[in-house]
Amino acid sequence: MKINTWFGVLEIGGTGEILESELFPKDIRELARRSLVMRENKQNLPPAGFDLKTAALECRFVSSSAEYYSLLHEVTLETVKMQVSGALTPDQRIIQAVEALDDINETTNSLSERLSEWYGGHFPESGLSGESLALFITKYGSRENLEPENPLYSKTVNSMGAKLEAADEILLKGFAESVCSLYERKRQIEAYIENSMESIAPNLNLIAGPMLGARLISISGSLEKLATFPSSTIQVIGASKALFKHLRSRAPSPKHGIIYSHPLINTAPWWVRGKIARALAAKLSLAARIDFYSGKIDPSLVEKLETKIRQIRASNPKPPQKKQESGIKPKKKRRK
């Protein structure tokens, strides 16, 4: 029978002896490439328990055990490097971007607070915060540098804050500059995500928007995984705490996870949110599948979603009425 090995194709006889061998060239990259091809090919597998090393020695591919292992080491390493370098797909890059964005948001929040506290010792009446405060400090530094035409000038006149020493001014301005540059970076990343989502997952982009779409891909781990999830999973993705509580105890199931941030859900009245979440998740699931398997944009998805939402809203204009109790009814035992 014919068998494939990492060092060649062998013809072995009934008792396992080697009849013929077609040895591969002893070039590491070549051997690695062939190894990759072989893993896909499920035919001509060596029989269970086949001793590859002994076979390699027998057909003179190598002249010693040491040479066998040394070569095998280099080939496996090279194979794996090839596989890893091909593994960074476009959706992985979006995932890194959206996670970096979340990190930047956290960081700018803490640093802005710190800036506000720090500068508040000098000019608490500024009324500025976040990026506007950072820009202000970068531009002016001490409040004394304001001109009378500046709208904030009046606040500086009788400020209760202390004088800003020169050394502190330099430090604060530098700190504020760093914060500004982070806000710039945040905008850059947001723009990158918006652009990339259009090409990586156009349907998801259309229905969920670039940010929510990117976050869905990030939580799932890849566009491929997102495409395999049933719509019920997409509905609750991001609500794992509530989901497991529901699975383990008698807590109610979560109606929505991260998709809550979609305007269709968070602007809807509370009594239709569950139904809308289900409908939205269904279309998101379809969108992800189209994006992964064909990448062609399908505008009809949005139309169908809007129609469905209109239907739901129309048939549920009022919140459900609490049933009137006629005497004490025994509580129905819930089957867990």
């Binding site: 090393k53 292992y69 496996t76 596989q83």
Partner: protein
């Protein structure tokens, strides 16, 4: 002054301030994951944290893993290589075929394998041993630490291809990977039964113990082919 006591081939107990499990560093001077390096009489040892490594925990729970310096090991679920590095220390004249599925973990494993000539990295799905049948030779030990629901089946498939007749299977079963909400004891009973009966080849269980206090809801299993 530090003392060293041998537990079995390649596995030691180093006493410096306190007793610690350790292996001889195959790559002296290099730290792999934040473990301590302890020199004793010209030999450098690496401490082995049982709370980070299921295999380390199994050794402390008295699993007889019978590895020799020249043993061949198939390691399924190599991850970033923290435990693999200790196995590599132990089988200094042998081989560790390290199978891992995630490219991100493989990145770290590549760094490790570049420095240690007895580690052969394989990026593949442990559930499909046919995909690395053209690379791996028959082994003395299969160590499996994959968080998959079909662990028993994976063990059988790999053993049927690669485990020598007198070889051993060492498994770490994580109850939550099999069923997130079931009672761990039930899950363990099920999995052990599957190993003994459900697939070909069948296994004979030599030891099955939980890994407390080092790991919660984990069962360590030592088995051999029936």
């Amino acid at each position: 002054m530090s003392e060293v006591r041998k537990i079995s081939d390649g596995i030691f107990e180093v006493i410096k301030d306190k007793k610690q499990l350790a292996t001889r560093n195959l790559d002296p001077g290099k730290v792999v994951y934040g473990e301590k390096l302890i020199p004793v009489e010209g030999v450098e040892y690496r401490t082995w944290d049982p709370r980070r490594s299921k295999l380390g925990a199994m050794i402390l729970k008295k699993f007889n893993i019978s590895l020799k310096e020249d043993s061949k090991v198939l390691y399924l679920g190599a991850a970033s290589g923290t435990t693999v590095s200790h196995v590599s220390d132990i089988v200094s004249e042998g081989a560790v075929y390290a199978v891992e599925f995630a490219p991100r973990s493989m990145r770290d494993l590549i760094g490790l394998a570049s420095r240690r000539k007895n580690i052969y990295p394989i990026l593949a799905d442990a559930g499909k041993p046919d995909s690395y049948a053209h690379i791996v030779e028959p082994v003395d030990l299969i160590f499996q630490d994959v968080a998959q629901p079909n662990q028993a089946e994976i063990a059988s498939r790999n053993a049927s291809r690669f485990l020598k007749g007198d070889g051993y299977l060492l498994l770490s079963i994580k109850a939550r990977s099999i069923d997130t909400v079931a009672n761990p004891k039930e899950v363990f009973k099920e999995e052990v039964k599957k190993l003994e009966q459900a697939f070909e080849p069948k296994f004979e269980i030599l030891n099955a113990k939980d890994l407390m206090p080092y790991h919660e809801d984990h069962l360590g299993v030592l088995a051999k082919l029936r």
